[in-house]
């Protein structure tokens, strides 16, 4: 097991290195540089001075080398648009996105698995068929549009929830502890709902299929032949096997959520990584963009790594050779 983890860890580092390289060259090979498109009133000499100051006039390979060096030391550069070190910008934005993503992940799995199990167990009941159809429908809805509709519905037409942001911009500093907490919750609700509903639909579909595949197997039949009741046969024998694909799905959910987060954050003006990236791109803040891609990839790689380890722990066929 330890060897397995070590190998996967090494694998992850190699991947991150490749990602950094690919991202670096991709971004730096784009036409212009961070200072080409800013305010055209600024004379060319000033631009050149900036370029020199931030090292953009050096050969590309040299820039690459220096970048790798600083990444290895944990420094991700300096953001021109925010006038702050990139790590500081990330330190602000990343936790906000992580909050949204982890809550969405937890809720989606809780909801999705329950729903999937229900749909599989009662696959013939009309209610289950209806929920299955509804899951399929939700699964087909674009995240940004769903976010938009929810926003319109609950912030404009029935104005019970805020229209965006993380906290009430004006009143929050004056709120008492409980009020402030409730304020945060209210702002969290819609983006969380969007991500959760969409992801649960996906999870429910997969869980349903997984359980349906396991229920008619020989070993479940053996369990019944041993005198096991429904609960034991299904919840212990069948589910233990049917939950395995969910672990892998968890790893896959990371990139899905990340992508969804970009657009959902935009719709709800949620100040996380997604918003940060979209604004950074338009001002050509290369270090920030690069950092976003690397951090995004790191999250994906980490998610997969955790999923792989969890799977090896859960499935003895993989673990014990």
């Amino acid at each position: 097991m330890r060897r397995f983890v070590a190998v996967r860890l090494l694998h992850a580092i190699v991947v991150l290195f490749l990602v950094t390289t690919i991202a670096f060259f991709l971004i730096h090979l784009a036409p212009g540089d961070p200072f080409s498109f800013e305010n055209s009133n600024i004379p060319g000499q000033v631009r050149d001075q900036w370029r020199h100051q931030f090292g953009y006039d050096r050969p590309l390979i040299e820039q690459y080398g220096r970048y790798l060096g600083s990444v290895a030391r944990g420094q991700l550069g300096f953001s021109h648009s925010q006038r702050l070190p990139v790590s500081q910008v990330l330190a602000l934005a990343l936790p906000r996105t992580l909050l949204l993503m982890s809550l969405a992940l937890a809720l989606s799995f809780a909801l999705g698995i329950q729903l999937g199990v229900y749909e599989a167990m009662h696959w013939r009941a009309r209610r289950a068929r209806v929920t299955n159809a509804v899951s399929l429908l939700i699964y087909s809805v674009p995240d940004f549009w769903f976010a938009l509709m929810l926003l319109l519905a609950f912030a404009y037409w029935i104005p019970i929830l805020p229209a965006g942001g993380m906290v009430d911009v004006v009143l929050h500093p004056y709120m008492s502890g409980l009020e402030a907490f409730w304020d945060r919750v209210r702002h969290l609700l819609l983006p969380l709902l969007t991500l959760t509903l969409l992801l649960s639909a996906l999870i429910a579909r997969y869980q349903r299929a997984a359980l349906l595949e396991v229920l008619p197997t020989d070993y479940v039949r053996t369990a019944r032949a041993k005198g096991a009741d429904e609960r034991l046969a299904v919840r212990r024998h069948a589910l233990r096997n049917a939950l395995l694909p969910m672990i892998t799905l968890g790893g896959l959910a990371f990139p899905a959520l990340l992508g969804g987060a970009v657009f959902v954050e935009r719709v709800f003006s949620w100040p996380g990584m997604g918003m940060m990236v979209t604004t950074a791109i338009f001002v050509r803040d290369y270090p920030l963009i690069l950092a976003a891609v690397i951090v995004g990839a790191a999250m994906v790689v980490l998610g997969n790594l955790l999923a792989d380890i969890a799977y090896a722990w859960a499935d003895p066929r993989v673990r014990v050779r």
Binding site: L26, P142, F144, Y156, I281, D308
Partner: protein
């Protein structure tokens, strides 16, 4: 009757079949509509009908889907949007299918070091979230011609296909008819094309069909934030390219294009599922990649 222990079996084939046929029919209609948009649309998509009087009009007989803030007919734009979004989606997945299949076949036929290197590279590319990569490229190389956009969409979406193809090709490679062909002196390329390719087509078709929905949503999302298709072209995504507050007053401008997307993606998903049931029984993500070497497509609606 007697209380029997319930042992459920998967849904009966007939019911699924009917739904799939309806979905296929709807898709046919959509493609037809897309093709015929210039003929059947009541107006032109960029035609501003009357910027004073016809701005932001709700649905009416003259404008069944209403007008938007530039007093353009929403129905027309939805029809033209079908044209643009469907063609972008279809072409992009074709690009993805071709590149992915080629990559996977090469990796599987060469094996050894080549395979390892190719797969590591693939891992790296897979790790970069598709959305972030696309946003970065599209914004930095601003502006890009439409065909380039399509190619980019394809080039960021072939990874799952190549994984699948490689896994499938690896199993086929060990089969007797391939060994027979090799012993007869068939070259690597010949084996790849004539023997491996036909056998890996099934999962490719399934993944591709399920992937079109993905790409359409992705295109719409990117156009929504302004870096995909550009205004004033009418794609289902650009139609959302107003501020969200605007839609509070003109719900029809947001609803109809969205519904169009949902219907289209839903149909592709239904057809894809039916194809999967018929062609490729391995439906679920299974053991971790490093151990088994394959992972079936997740086919998420939110973007990867």
């Amino acid at each position: 009757m007697f209380a029997e222990a319930p042992l459920p079996a998967p849904a009966p084939a007939r019911r699924v079949d009917r739904t799939a046929r309806v979905a296929l029919l709807v898709l046919g209609v959509l493609y037809a509509v897309a093709f015929l948009a210039p003929v059947i649309a009541p107006y032109s998509p960029s035609q501003q009908i009357d910027i004073v009087a016809m701005k932001n009009r709700p649905p009416s007989l003259a404008h069944p889907f209403g007008t938007d803030r530039f007093s353009r007919d929403v129905l027309t734009r939805v029809l033209y949007g079908a044209r643009l979004s469907l063609s972008i989606g279809t072409l992009a997945v074709l690009v993805a299918a071709i590149v992915g299949t080629a990559y996977g076949l090469v990796a599987a036929s060469f094996g050894g070091v080549v395979d390892t290197v190719l797969m590591r590279l693939l891992d790296a590319m897979l790790a970069i979230p598709r959305v972030l990569l696309l946003i970065a490229i599209l914004a930095l190389w601003n502006p890009l011609p439409l065909w380039m956009f399509v190619v980019l969409l394809g080039l960021t979406g072939w990874f799952d296909v190549s994984r699948l193809v490689r896994a499938e090709a690896l199993t086929v490679r060990e089969r007797e008819f391939v060994l027979a062909a090799q012993s007869l002196g068939a070259g690597r390329a010949r084996i790849m094309i004539r023997h491996l390719l036909p056998n890996v087509l099934a999962p490719v078709i399934v993944t591709t069909t399920l992937g079109i929905g993905n790409v359409i949503v992705l295109e719409a999302a990117l156009s929504f934030i302004g870096i995909g298709v550009r205004e004033p072209a009418a794609s289902w995504g650009t139609m959302f390219h107003e501020g969200t507050e605007v839609f509070a007053g003109t719900w029809w401008a947001a609803l109809f294009p969205g519904v169009a997307i949902v219907v289209t993606v839903l149909c592709f998903n239904i057809v894809g599922d039916a194809l999967r049931a018929a062609l490729d029984p391995r439906q679920l993500p299974r053991a971790p990649r490093a151990l088994v070497g394959t992972r079936t497509a997740a086919g998420t609606a939110t973007v990867q």
